[in-house]
Symmetry: C2
Subunit: 487 residues, 2 copies
């Protein structure tokens, strides 16, 4: 198994073939705006030079990052069509930007290039209460959508940790997952239709469909395409009624792998939890201390949404199942604590980034159950070479497998050393993940950080993605450097 070498200069991920546009080209783009606004200088360029990729945020603490030459906030689809057409004609690199919450550099622009910020197209267009479908523009922030839905008795059931930082379009672009995915599905399960502007400026409308057998479901091409194949402007999302009941249960396990067997059994036994999170002792510690339970044990948090009589039976059977695996019922408090304390709080990350000689990050991946123990052991061992402590949990469980989420902090004598460690940690984990049979990302996506492992992840099938990219974006101007590694 070949491993991808460590690379220490993240900015060099930007493909050298891409050139910054001229002033005339930028003016042509600006002229395409009829209602939208733009910026060619100032704080807006700086804020769009970075996303939530920790190493980029860290670098931005130390030095000025390369900025885009122009930020556009179109207000209409017609403007996006014009912008895309001009960018293709003039070969201007264009990076879509939503909430900027990518943790892998997915929204970092080409130096001097153009950013298309979607956030001024953030309307709810329609709420179909009969079919339970909401149609929104993709610049809408996730939390705004959820709040609007809740006020009318609905939920999307999609609660990524980035709920308050990310747009609906970002979810589509990255194949996002929410913590209640076991019940509500991932974003690809919620999207029933979409409108997309292709790089040439063509608008494709996939009308909402419950389910059909009328050829391949081609809108799937754009879910997870990370803005390299087009800009999704509107989506039709399946919504659910707010559940009659949402209940939590915490279970303690002495051994992580026994706990893992229990959640596999639970998932394969038809007990339909809405959320499943099994923490290793390091990550369990915070919640255990909040509820006064002894540390040093693994913690499983389960949640169910649904009619009271149903969820109570599911919970009871699940507790019994966990007991058969030696699980200790810790009652509802650990789950309540997880849910109500700081699920959406990312200060721990910001603080580490802001501390000299320190950085924190998360790496997640997915795997089949048969590989889960081996993956866990391989990647935590690999990460242990640089990180002193690894917080980890299994979540987003399926009958076939699970995701694994790692949280780690790196410390060094100075920022330069930490940056070296950072890329080493990533390379160690990615190489170990691939060698042990994991997929390199469950829901964070590829961006700049993981692009180098895409060939190993996909093998020959990556050529199909390259061919699609060439077909839809012949000049390669849309979000260059992301998702697909330069050859």
């Amino acid at each position: 198994m070949t491993t991808v070498p460590i690379k220490t200069n993240w900015a060099s991920s930007q493909p050298p073939r891409i050139k910054a546009p001229t002033q005339e080209q930028l003016q042509r783009l600006i002229a395409a705006l009829k209602q939208g606004r733009y910026a060619v200088s100032g704080e807006e360029l700086r804020s769009h030079s970075v996303d939530w990729w920790p190493i980029a945020k860290k670098r931005a603490q130390i030095e000025e990052l390369a900025q885009p030459g122009l930020v556009l906030w179109p207000k209409t689809t017609a403007e996006i069509i014009q912008i895309m057409r001009i960018a293709q004609e003039e070969q201007i690199p264009l990076t879509p930007y939503g909430g900027g919450s990518s943790v892998v550099g997915g929204a970092i622009p080409v130096p001097g290039g153009v950013v298309l910020d979607t956030r001024e197209m953030a309307e709810e267009l329609q709420l179909d209460k009969i079919s339970q479908i909401v149609t929104v523009q993709t610049g809408l922030m996730g939390s705004d959508l959820e709040e609007r839905l809740n006020a009318r008795g609905y939920t999307l059931g999609h609660y990524p940790q980035s709920l308050f930082l990310s747009t609906v379009g970002g979810w589509v672009a990255t194949r996002a997952s929410g913590t209640f995915s076991s019940k509500y599905g991932n974003i690809e399960d919620l999207i029933k239709g979409l409108r997309i502007v292709l790089p040439g400026g063509e608008l494709l409308a996939f009308d909402p469909v419950a389910r059909a057998s009328t050829g391949p479901d081609l809108k799937q091409l754009f879910l997870g395409s990370e803005g390299i194949l087009g800009i999704v402007t509107e989506v039709d999302l399946a919504i659910q009624r707010l559940p009659a009941q949402r209940i939590f249960r915490g279970i303690g396990f002495d051994d992580l792998f026994v706990g893992m067997e229990a959640i596999r059994e639970l998932t394969q036994s038809d007990l339909q939890p809405a959320a499943v999170r099994l923490y290793n002792p390091s990550e369990a510690e915070r919640i255990l201390s909040l509820v006064g339970e002894p540390k040093g044990q693994c913690l499983l948090i389960l949640a169910w949404d649904g009619p009271q009589a149903v969820v109570e039976v599911q919970q009871q059977l699940s507790i019994e199942l966990c007991r058969r695996y030696g699980g200790r019922d810790l009652g509802s408090r650990p789950g309540d604590a997880w849910y109500s304390s700081n699920r959406f709080d990312v200060r721990w990350l910001t603080e580490a980034i802001n501390t000299p000689g320190m950085i924190a990050d998360t790496i997640e991946m997915s795997m089949l159950w048969k590989d889960a123990r081996n993956v866990y052991e391989s990647v935590t061992e690999a990460l242990g070479r640089t990180a002193t402590d690894v917080l980890a949990h299994f979540s987003h469980v399926y009958s076939t497998g699970t995701s694994l989420y790692l949280i780690f902090t790196l410390k060094g004598d100075n920022d330069a050393e930490v940056e070296q460690q950072y890329f080493r940690a990533w390379a160690d984990v990615m190489n170990a993940a691939i060698a042990s049979g994991a997929s390199i990302s469950h829901h964070h996506g590829i961006g700049l950080m993981r692009a180098r492992w895409m060939q190993q992840e996909h093998g020959d099938t990556l050529e199909l993605l390259r061919n699609l990219k060439s077909m839809l974006d012949p000049t390669g101007m849309l979000n260059p450097g992301k998702l697909l590694p330069e050859k």
Copy 2:
């Protein structure tokens, strides 16, 4: 709204640009077989000239259908690769053939062309009990797979009416649905990986993945591609444990649309039935008479699979919900009768086809809930112009919508008249479906019969499918005439 004109000669759906291969070309293909077998004459050519498309079966009663020039039964992927390469080089039309259970002409070959029958590649390759994934070759018959799984305590949960007639590959090609789809999902939900030979002979391997965010899920391109983009040779399918309990309930409704509201409410209220089938009075009659209930009413059949305590609560809440809509609890017998009587029996269809001056067929479609009543009224009215009685049911329900399934018989003075009526009935229903907001097929697919409506179904997005076809099959030799209408 433009409507597609009635077309009365089904054979003319075959694109005229396609030429039958020469004897030399056929010999080259035969030479590619190392272990597989072939036929160039006799009954095998006749049996491969037709599938389960009723009008083709009917025509075959009257006259000899145009036959393929060669049927190939490859035994290895290497042989398929060779065959595909030669077909592309020599521009030989090649039609994949599984169980031949397409009801829309999806497996009908080009006259004098080549048929690739997959049924000698029917091995189970692996059963991963930990990840609950079975890997099979796609020539395996559906019922054989289910029987093997049942013997070991598993089920695919995928029971199309064609279970005993169709191959796994056919399910992939058409985006098949089983009657218990509300619990187990449709085929696209079960497929975790696949291997496909592209028209140029390239083998692409999509390894099984629980779920990932590593770019678009490109295997989706091939689900529902009806054999025009490649030949899927192997699939990795998620399996489930046999449910602890499977229970049924029948509910009577006076009014179909009130019953429809009840099943929408049920589906949107988190009561997770595994199967939902709401029959109009005409279709309800057979089962009602089996269980001695009065005819003239609508019949809803519900099923739940799962742990006993869970399904009993779900059933109880569902009965209460239906009662609020005026539903009458008819106990478990109607469901038992449906399940155990003749779900897989298609003699009624064969008998109608074999009767002079008569034909029967089914047409299904999908729609959002908001359009369901309008679609039902429009398409049954349209079908009523030719058919004397329309049996209909809603099934495969989703939070966003439902499928509608029509069963009808046509009678005329002679076969020629019936054939005219047949195409008129189809055109009337397809045009009414599109005008009222339905998708033209829920799970039967497009084949030859529906290809003429694909442009209206998909609008501008059909061009994307055409471009994919050109990219993957530049000579257009793979299953010509299917799915995509000739321009």
